[in-house]
Symmetry: C2
Subunit: 156 residues, 2 copies
DNA sequence: TTGTGTGGTTGCATCATAAAACCATTTGTC
DNA sequence: GACAAATGGTTTTATGATGCAACCACACAA
């Protein structure tokens, strides 16, 4: 089987998330959806991607429960693609990617936009990982534990 | 040119980050590196991936400044791949992906591990996006503004 | 009813990925 | 130092994914 490796059965949650989000277009489609894009043609023109692979990605995202199809809100017979709660739940992933570019990109001057708090118009804070008691955690301050209850596999 | 679309010149920081991280293996390699993996063979056996594409990915990650090669720490003549600060900076991305799976995966019982605070052994808090003044922000509470100073392009 | 825009699917060429075989260098063993 | 084995790759070949263009069905407007 030469098939492009699937992480579907993997026990690592990062691998599992990449199964749904880990290709070149899915996160960008979700980004547009978070901005309110809903129609096929709108995705296609904003992202400048081929229609066949857009169709394939939308189908995949619907299958993964990230998007759902709905009758068009404007009364036409066409359908729309709207984010599910699972889809909106990717927001921190997108923010983390954005902030990583803002901090480490070699040409930050080429970045066009900044994410701001709508109410105040001020840049948002950096995402921080904290312990239950509020302490700031670096990678070295964390570790993995096997999940309490049922079966598990390799690790990760 | 049929080339697999590059987002290198894109002005959206999410697209730019995907240029370096957006394939199937890079984030998993970084995940292993954060756990202390440094040697080619160790990556290969832990990830179970083909050696040729591991070599290609490592090369790409080094080119992007995410990994750096260094002489082996054990005195042997082999080299090691170690994370740069830019590489360690992807930690929030990995945490966000992990937490997304933990919250939305269809089979959460198949997830083997939980991320805990090393000091207390307790699960970490969810990543939260906050405004400068500490208010919790949902996607709808945010918006994009053009970057203050120099030139910009499409938007994103 | 004719025309146009929307939302796709189908073919075809090209690229990336995967598995296995192969190879050079380093290391351990005698 | 000679030899075998481990390490760290590259090359070869097969197949799947991607990208472009052409095509097509349906909705909608005149």
């Amino acid at each position: 089987m030469v098939r492009r490796t699937s992480f579907d059965g993997d026990s690592c949650p990062i691998a599992r998330s990449l199964e749904a989000l880990g290709d070149w277009w899915s996160l960008l489609i979700i980004r547009e959806a978070l901005f309110g894009v809903r129609r096929f043609g709108e995705f296609q023109s904003k992202l400048g991607m081929a229609k066949n692979i857009l169709a394939a990605r939308l189908r995949s995202l619907v299958e993964h429960g990230i998007l759902a199809t709905a009758p068009a809100s404007d009364g036409s017979a066409y359908q729309e693609y709207v984010l599910t709660p699972k889809g909106r739940g990717t927001f921190p992933v997108l923010v983390a990617l954005r902030q990583w570019s803002e901090e480490f990109d070699d040409h930050p001057d080429e970045i066009a936009t900044i994410l701001v708090d709508r109410a105040k118009g001020r840049p948002v804070k950096k995402l921080e990982l904290r312990a239950e008691d509020g302490r700031l955690l670096s990678p070295a301050d964390t570790t993995l534990k096997p999940r309490p209850a049922p079966r598990r596999r390799a690790a990760g």
